[in-house]
Amino acid sequence: MSMIKIEGVHKYFGENHVLDDIDLEIKQGEVMCVVGPSGSGKSTLLRSLNHLERITSGKIYIDNVLMDHRENNKDILKTDPKKVSALCAELGMVFQRFNLFPHKTVLQNVTIAPITVRKIDKSEAEMKAKELLKKVGLIDKINEYPSRLSGGQQQRVAIARALAMEPKIMLFDEPTSALDPELVGEVLEVMKQLARDGMTMMVVTHEMGFAKEVGTRLIFMDEGKIVEQGTPKEVFENPKNERTKDFFRSIL
């Protein structure tokens, strides 16, 4: 079953063609890894899915529903803001810089969206939040403010916060790039667990170990195009494109 379908998507920032005719389909349970040099459009692609960026043209289906259809920066499909918000709630997103809410405690960070958006009862939301925080190993930190946590802990709270909305798909935008090397492992561990539990994931990452271990598919992007795709093993061991070969040579 197709969870995400992207058809003929283009995106321009001014003159800059950051997404150049992207077609991509992600099926339920897939862990799609997106790699490529910086500026290749991988974050923009991810952010287009939940409207943090608006595409210039093309179509995006989420869970088989057409959610974005644009030409020349104009909506062909009229998007109702309420519907867009509901769609965003189906897509959990984890950011490079965590973006936790600093004025809320760990527990409040995880409960605020279910209470505000899903209108779930506070006590029920807290119960569920505690379960999730236990899963990411932070049950002893529920009353701390984010500023008191390490980067790795903050990112794990951010994952729990996204999961609290019970998303169908999780999007990760370089989730370990802002972390000290010794904190990367704890975040990847949580993500691997999530993958094993069958979550559909799209992960922009430079963590090749992670891609090899849990990635079901990998795309390599360069200058706004998908230049190579396959299983992570195929692409790593036998890259066909010159740009891909150069990239792997430079990061390994």
Partner: protein
């Protein structure tokens, strides 16, 4: 100082405090709306609020007070055909409120814009609407950041209430001037002392508020 003079001073101080608190309280709510208008994507809202702030920051408060008291009845006469009288106190509140709202709006706007854009993105990604994100995520975070400039504006308005003597309202400065007219300058200095006392208290309270608000940092 005689008992009568002391009583008049006390009453004048009361008027000064009332003017400050009421105009700041109403101005605060109004300023929040203006600030949201200034950052909104709607060109019309943006334009209206821009013009408002441009006018009220670009003309003297004293002139605004004069217009509120003397000008409003004249305008009413032209528009409605009869005078609409406005009390001195209400005119003073009107002038001070409209003026402080323009300044506070800019303070709030700067506060909102100072919040990292990742906060709005995270809120949106969690399915919050713009309104929910503003109310629950962005505005609460601006609170601590706007306390220092807000304290500045509060103290400014507290002192600028002295300008309402131009329309004849007996606040602290006017009371001191009336008594000093008898040849005794000490009344001016007493008024100055009262202002200093009030501004000092305000500063202490705002410092406390700022510290309390910083608990999550």
């Amino acid at each position: 100082m005689t008992a009568v003079q002391a009583k008049a001073f006390l009453a004048g101080t009361g008027v000064t405090i009332e003017l400050t608190l009421i105009s700041i309280a109403i101005g605060l709510v109004f300023a929040m709306i203006l600030a949201l208008g200034r950052i909104s994507k709607s060109k019309i809202l943006n334009g209206i609020t821009w013009v408002y702030i441009w006018v009220f920051r670009g003309t003297p408060l004293m002139l605004q007070l004069i217009i509120a008291y003397f000008g409003v009845p004249m305008v009413a006469k032209t528009l409605l055909g009869h005078y609409v009288n406005i009390s001195m106190f209400n005119a003073a509140i009107l002038g001070l409120t409209l003026n402080t709202a323009a300044y506070l709006a800019e303070i709030f706007r700067a506060g909102i814009l100072s919040i990292d854009k990742g906060q709005m993105e995270a809120a949106k990604a969690l399915g919050m609407t713009y309104r929910q994100a503003m109310l629950k995520i962005i505005i609460p975070q601006t609170y601590r950041r706007v306390i220092p400039p807000f304290a500045n504006e509060f103290i400014m308005i507290l002192k600028d209430t002295s300008l309402v003597m131009v329309i004849g309202l007996s606040e602290l400065t006017r009371v001191s001037k009336i008594f000093a007219a008898g040849g005794e300058a000490k009344f001016y200095f007493i008024a100055g002392g009262v202002y200093l006392f009030l501004t000092t208290i305000s500063t202490l309270i705002f410092d406390k508020m700022e510290k309390a608000a910083a608990k999550y940092e």
